[in-house]
Subunit: 384 residues, 2 copies
């Protein structure tokens, strides 16, 4: 069945030109000659009446209809597509703009491309600086800062008050903090019986935090309260940039690092937290979404013997690139500055410092990705 | 090079019988005629001296040696394997028991089989009951309860004090609580302007919580403070059992549900939390490790058009099984009882209740899987 229609164009200019009803779906041809397939069962499942009026949660019970449900009639009028269903005497009414927005024909991957901008050492000159007072007081400044953080994965906040409380206040502008076995906040200072290498004064090689957790913390806040020792510069690398290069130049290594899992572990008296992860994490749409790299927490590799040697070659290849000066930025944080970065994207480390030459104190916390992205969406409705 | 050795058996009875050195690895033949391959680079990377003496974190820099590193000599004496390396004048000494424990030849999957015991409706007669006082006061009782919870994914705690505080105290015996956009604790009561269906008095179909989060909460604690309405029975299904059956009977559907991702979403005034997930989650070792099923939070499916209809068939097939009486248990919680279950395995729901017939109040919170497994490991060292 083909239904030809002629009508006024809506604001986007794209309208239904014709509809062909097949056994399982409607084929909608648009005025720009593109075609969208909408399956009958999908249309019934997403009828506007299927959602709760207050919560907008789906209320329709999919099993209340059969898988053979199909339109008895299809009608286009003005901005709407009307369907009379073969079951339950039900009618649905969709706006054409809703159908355009939710069309699932074409390349799904194109709709799920990450918006990040990967960077190398030149990024040190273009790091986004936000002001503490502005981010605290003004939602638009908060939004602008979060957009930059989302894109590059690393920003600086200047003008932080000289208190550990301000770290939490700033981070809480996004949402609640992510607790870990180290607490909801932590202090990076050199101590006598360190439970991990961060709490010494030695070189801290580039890593992402807590790769031993099922979901390592998302955004990391490191507020510098003092840093007048010799040394102690913070070092960062955008591991997404490095992974992109590896994918281009050594696709076999990239594949191994994204498909094989290695064990990570942290343990002390009260915890023994272990997880297997791939070092490179690619989502279902082909985007590199996460790097879990922490040589210190990496436990004893238990890969199948047949891939062990090749895996070491891939892992070493990634390690070498991560240390390449082409990718590295170095920042000597000063008191009153806070660096905020995506812990699951940007590796961080520090140069060793001379304990006796002064004081170095960073105060840190985390906010997770779900909360960050949620806040960004809510702010975007007003400020984008 | 083959090195034949004769020596006393250690406690396990298994000892090195011979060693053959190849280009990339040592092939160790054990006294029980099994063979383990240990790659040179793996052995060097895991030399006992590679780990920090306090933190046990890996300190050895893998890039300080080349990928061609190999033994100059290999020697077995008593319980040890000694290696003199071709680089850095370094020597390593491994115990044979450590080599046995970390052997990565053979089937990796056998070492990563989940210990869970899936259940159907008969489970209602064998649910493990723990006592509040015992779990609070005695680490061994805590351990025994956690072992049962780990295996079956659902247990009951009896003798809860009549306070919301006790929910938190009990959960905190494992570790800190998982915060969500609903707070660190929540009350399930019928309210006038519900932000989700849980806060009404209507039927709550079987689901797992917060599938819209990147990592949905792990273990859920639901403490019953009052439940004297008509109706309001809690309903549970072990989705692992259902997924196992689906894997056996409809492998194509299982594959679709474990490989394709669908969108989930919760939003209110302050949040808009969205994530794509597969409904069935299988780990790298082939274990079913998680079900994310929540028809209310499921957003508008945006699968590629070529799999959409088939996916609906698979999804409906899973839904039908999840409603099958063969799998369901029903519990009318009474005041002073708490049900604790794995929110990422066991679906929960409730029958509708008659608001005017009495009071129904559940107080809830979550503890995540990483923390649960960590606590279980630490307790097992003492009580297993």
């Amino acid at each position: 069945m083909t239904l030809s229609v002629t009508q006024n164009l809506n604001t986007t200019g794209k309208r239904i030109a014709s509809i062909q009803q097949n056994a399982l779906s409607l084929l909608v041809e648009w005025s720009d000659e593109t075609v969208s397939e909408f399956h009958h069962i999908w249309l019934r499942d997403n009828c506007p009446t299927a959602f709760h009026i207050d919560t907008e949660e789906r209320e329709f019970d999919l099993l209340s209809v059969s898988e053979d449900i199909h339109p008895l009639s299809v009608e286009v009028s003005d901005d709407f597509l009307h369907i009379e269903w073969s079951e339950g005497g039900h009618r649905s009414c969709f706006t054409q703009s809703w159908l355009i927005e939710h069309s699932y024909s074409g390349l799904i991957n194109e709709r799920h491309v990450s918006a990040y901008e990967s960077w190398d050492s030149a990024f040190v000159n273009t790091i986004y600086h936000a002001q503490y007072e502005a981010v605290m007081d003004d939602d638009k400044a908060l939004y602008q800062w979060m957009v930059e953080l989302d894109k590059s994965g690393l920003t600086l906040i200047d003008g932080m008050p000289d208190s550990t409380e301000s770290t939490v206040l700033l981070a809480s502008r996004i949402d609640y903090l992510r607790q870990t076995n180290f607490g909801t906040t932590f202090n990076v200072v050199s101590v006598e019986s360190p439970i991990n290498l961060a709490y010494t004064s030695i070189d801290l090689p580039l890593h992402t935090d807590l790769t031993n957790q099922e979901t390592p913390p998302g955004y990391q806040f490191l507020h510098c309260l003092a840093n007048d020792c010799e040394g102690g510069e913070s070092v960062f690398v955008d591991a997404l940039k490095v992974a992109e290069e590896l994918r281009d130049e050594c696709p076999d290594y990239f594949k191994l690092l994204s498909e094989q899992v290695i064990p990570f572990r942290f343990h002390d008296e009260s915890h023994d937290i272990r997880e297997h992860h791939s070092v490179i994490n690619v989502d279902q749409f082909g985007n590199i979404i996460e790097i879990k790299f922490n040589a210190h927490l990496a436990s004893i590799f238990d890969l199948p013997a047949c891939v062990m040697y090749e895996y070491y070659l891939a892992y070493r290849s990634l390690m070498k690139r991560l240390r390449d000066e082409r990718f590295k930025i170095e920042l000597k944080l000063s008191a009153g500055q806070m660096v905020v970065f995506d812990n699951r994207r940007v590796l961080h480390g520090r140069n060793k410092f001379e304990d006796s030459s002064g004081r170095r104190h960073l105060h840190g916390c985390y906010v997770d990705r779900s909360e960050f992205k949620s806040r960004l969406r809510v702010l975007a409705k007003k400020y984008a």
